[in-house]
Structure formats: structure tokens, C-alpha cells
Symmetry: C2
Subunit: 187 residues, 2 copies
DNA sequence: TCCATCATGTAAACAGTTACATGATTGC
DNA sequence: GCAATCATGTAACTGTTTACATGATGGA
């Protein structure tokens, strides 16, 4: 009967669970601040979504009186809590456990379309970009440790593990390119 | 002047570059067969997209005469080659180098919403699902090695690296849960 | 011959982005 | 008091999925 919960819906319920009573803008800021560029956290996505969730009785809201601007303070209802629970817990679909999409990896799959000289340039740029992300993530880890935010820390550590693995892989790719070039020169 | 190339557009151009002259259905199959559940490769996405790309002169097509069913054989035009090139090569936006989205990681960030007993269950299910993906990827690696598909091999190795890192991370998460539980019991 | 599935598509529903609008609040 | 930006929203556009339709092809 209940339609399946989308990633964004689940994440919004999760944020409201974490933040306690909060406005749509608070939720929005969380997505905008998120290091992963998964969602933009655009107003056009969040405001209509929380309205939908409220209509489904997964969120309760009361009007903000402390400010003249209006707006609503949202809380997770018990039905919302349950939906959040169902969204997180097993069984985990392949969509959840499957190989996460990585635009960098996608491009590597078509790297042969570049002229050889550009391939090396690509890998170098990728390594630089990846290192920037690693630095950002280290800061994020430090922050969540200081705030004692156990789950966020765990998630950030997962992101770091992924980035470090990507780094090792990219370096191996660079070496493999090098071998290929030498083989081509020799053959 | 030219609008930015989306991930799906880039990937479709890449597939047609790889496969040589091929039909929309061939492209579609590639996405459906892809281990990453990023795109469904649905007909409603691919057929209109190749049409759009053709209208933009990035693809050329000729009608299939060998079959009665009709359909078209698409080829990358030189303009298409150029767009593919631009799409792959640096500068790489944060959207490309950023932390790849991982639904598993997202859920871990909200794991505190589950009752403690369920948290362990989640991690175990995640590990099982992850191991299945590792097996699938190993097969993929074997295949591309046999087919001497260098770039696809490289991409699959990247996927494997990511999955292995995820495995290590999940095991660490399980240990961390365990510590937490013991601390709670003791405190 | 008949049934499954291949291959090509289309249409409606839906979700998310961009861009805009508007009033409140804050800092100078 | 004025400018910047905060906060709340809306509307149009775009792209993707789901579901359907339809004829071709291949194997029993």
C-alpha cells in the first residue's frame, strides 16, 4: 500500500529525526552543506517534499510564532519514525548495496576516447581533485569527533575509506598507462 | 553556447564510441547489464536521448535495412567525438571528483534511529550485500581481462577497490558498535 | 502454428533543478 | 535608513521512470 521511500525522502526524514523540531530551511542547509554533491538541496526540492511528507502524516508541524516570517517547525510523527525505520533496515536492495555510481570511474571507462597524452593529464587531475576531497573529509571527521556525532563520524569515515581506495586505484591506473605506453613504444 | 553534457549523455556517447555503429537497443542493453544501478537504461530514457543527440548532430544514423523491424544504426559524428572528449577531460568539477553518493553510507548516518539490536543486523546485511557485489565485480574483471578490454577492466578494478574499502569500513563499524554496547553496559 | 521474447517506440506521471518573487532580518 | 542576505516559497522546464503498445523474430 505505502509507496516505496525514495532516497531523498528517507534522508529528509532522517535529518528531521536528528535535528529534532526544525524548519524546512534547516533541512535544506544540511543538504547544501553536505560534501557529497548528491542533491543540491534546492528550495524547489525540499519545500514541496516536506509538504508531501506532512500530507502523508509522516511529519507533524506547527507554525513558528517566534518570528514574523512565518514558516513551520516540523517534527517526525510516529508513523514517520516507522517509515524511517523501514527505509533504513534490511532487506537491502541492490540499489543500496550495489556498486555506488562514480562519475570519475564512468569517465575512466571511456578514457580510450582521449588521445594518449590527455589520458595521463586526466589521471593527474583526478588525483588532485580526489586529494582535495580527502582534505575536506578529514576536516569533517574532526568536526564530528569534536561534536561526538557518532553516526556522522562513521559515515564520514566511510567516505574517507572510499576516497583513499580511489586514490590507490588512480595511482595504479597511472602506472598501468605508463606500462602501456612503454609497451607501445617498444612494440 | 553548447549546454553542458549530462552524465547520461556522456555515457551514451561513450558507449556508441566503443561499440561502433550500433542501435539504441544496444546502448540500452549496456546500461541494463551494467552492475552499477545508476541508470535503469529504460527505453523511455534512451530512445528520446539518442534522438536528441542526433538532432544536435552529435550522432549520425542510417536506417537498418537488414531487418524488417526498422530502427537505426547510430555512429558518433566528429562533433560528437569532440563533445565526448570535452566531457571526459579536465577541468573536473566537484560533481565528478566529489565523494560518490552511497546509499549504504547515507543510511549509516541515520543508524541511530534504529533500536540498538537492529543496528548490528543492518551492518551484517550490508556486509552480505557488499560481498555479493564483490563476487559480481570479480567476474566482471575476469571477463574484461579475457576480452582485453583495458578501460573497462580499469573501471571494474576501481569498483572493486571501492567495495573492498567499504567492506573494511563496515567491519570496523561493527567493532565500533560492539565497543559502544559494552561501554553502555558497563557505564 | 503459436508463444515467448526481442526490438522499437510513446505517453503520462513524477521528481528535482533553475530561476524567480517577496517579505523579514541584520549589520552598517 | 539602506543594503545584503536570510528564509519561505512558487513556477516552468527538464529528464527519467513506469507502463503500455506493437510488430518482428525464433524456437517448440
Amino acid at each position: 500500500m505505502s509507496r516505496t521511500t525514495s532516497e531523498l525522502e528517507g534522508a529528509v526524514l532522517g535529518v528531521i529525526w536528528q535535528e529534532g523540531p526544525c524548519t524546512a530551511y534547516t533541512v535544506r542547509k544540511r543538504f547544501v552543506a553536505s560534501p557529497s554533491p548528491q542533491w543540491s538541496g534546492s528550495a524547489g526540492a525540499i519545500y514541496p517534499l516536506v509538504r508531501r511528507l506532512e500530507k502523508k502524516r509522516l511529519l507533524a508541524s506547527r507554525i513558528l510564532t517566534s518570528t514574523k516570517r512565518g514558516g513551520r517547525l516540523y517534527t517526525l510523527s510516529s508513523a514517520g519514525q516507522k517509515v524511517l525505520d523501514e527505509w533504513i533496515k534490511p532487506p537491502l536492495s541492490p540499489m543500496v548495496t550495489g556498486v555506488p555510481a562514480d562519475p570519475l570511474r564512468t569517465r575512466i571507462g571511456f578514457l580510450g576516447a582521449l588521445i594518449p597524452a590527455r589520458r595521463r593529464t586526466f589521471i593527474e587531475a583526478a588525483l588532485r581533485g580526489n586529494d582535495v576531497e580527502i582534505q575536506t573529509t578529514l576536516v569533517e571527521i574532526k568536526d564530528s569527533r569534536e561534536k561526538n556525532d557518532h553516526w556522522h563520524l562513521l559515515a564520514a569515515q566511510g567516505a574517507l575509506a572510499c576516497l583513499r581506495a580511489r586514490r590507490t586505484w588512480l595511482r595504479a591506473a597511472a602506472r598501468s598507462l605508463h606500462r602501456k605506453r612503454r609497451a607501445a613504444a617498444a612494440g
